[in-house]
Symmetry: C2
Subunit: 196 residues, 2 copies
């Protein structure tokens, strides 16, 4: 029997967690990025397909490669962030299914079905992007997700000649509290949910 | 300064968390569903747009309405689950932006841009579906997500005459340990990630 997590954990994951534009100078070690993946990878995906691919943009050279794709409002903060994660997905994800879902011929459900491939890659890659953000918060990191950038430019710079396509970006680091905006409201339960 | 959550919390959220097909008879109270929403709603979405809409299918009448849309392999377990969540999104989400993102005219970024509306609703509604699953685990609940169903039938049965579209389903309850499969492998770090 599982129990609810204690309130400080709920606060760190959801209640007090915020989107950060600015981060402290504390670097994010490569070992932290592998620990992050080793948490998020366990999140559920359809047929365990795990279509997400992640590029951790950390070096000055890689940031320079990313820069032309960023929208004006996201440029400065992204160049300064300790790490920017490119959340992407591999449209050839189904080639891994004989390994990832060995008890069925799941590869055959996808091969040649372009609409199902696109939807499955986007939906499940996005789920994995959310798992990354919550795993990051669970590890004491802070996130700044963004969709304001040129996907085609990111794909050309980072995924040329592959079947990998960018989805969204997440700045990652240890958040600087002074740059956090006042929190915007959320929809009340009755506006977003119903129980039938 | 935030710290990593203690290992039992990481286990409950990711390391030991599993997808469940079967659940105990313990019901999921309506108060638990509102507590669930009051956690997940704080997860980040683009321009705080919060496009997800959730139907908590709980009554026998609502389960009967859902049944014809379920794929054969998902039918029996879904009818037996204490709650099935329809994760959906409202394509008119941008009408809420004057309230949800009051400091900019964010509504005008979307109105009339059908491709951006579709992508934003699907991406961010999916993120919110992932937040729901991790919030559920944080509250001691277990999940069984599924995309094997007929979206058009769900939309006709639950969202006729609206701008709301179904995305995926999540069975929700307190997991029965005896129905859990052996865990499938995940991609190693180097197959899914790179650090640049």
């Amino acid at each position: 029997m599982k129990h609810p997590l204690a309130n400080p954990a709920l606060e760190q994951l959801f209640l007090n967690a915020r989107t950060y534009s600015g981060f402290t100078d504390q670097p994010v070690e490569d070992a932290t990025l592998t620990a992050l993946y080793d948490l998020l990878k366990w999140g559920p995906t359809s047929a365990n397909a795990s279509p997400a691919r992640f590029v951790f943009v950390k070096s000055a050279a890689a940031k320079a490669k990313l820069e032309p794709a960023l929208s004006e409002g996201n440029r400065a903060k992204t160049l300064k962030a300790p790490v920017t994660v490119i959340v992407a997905h591999d449209l050839a994800f189904y080639d891994q299914l004989p390994t990832l879902f060995p008890h069925s011929d799941a590869r055959s459900w996808f091969a040649g079905n372009e609409a199902l491939i696109q939807t499955t890659a986007f939906r499940n890659g996005t789920l994995q992007g959310a798992y990354l953000m919550l795993a990051a918060r669970a590890l004491g990191l802070d996130c700044g997700p963004m969709s304001g950038f040129d996907n085609a430019k990111v794909d050309a710079a980072f995924f040329a000649g592959t079947t990998v396509k960018s989805n969204f970006l997440i700045n990652l680091g240890y958040g600087a509290e002074d740059g956090v905006y006042a929190r915007n409201p959320r929809l009340p339960f009755d506006a977003a949910c119903r129980i039938e």
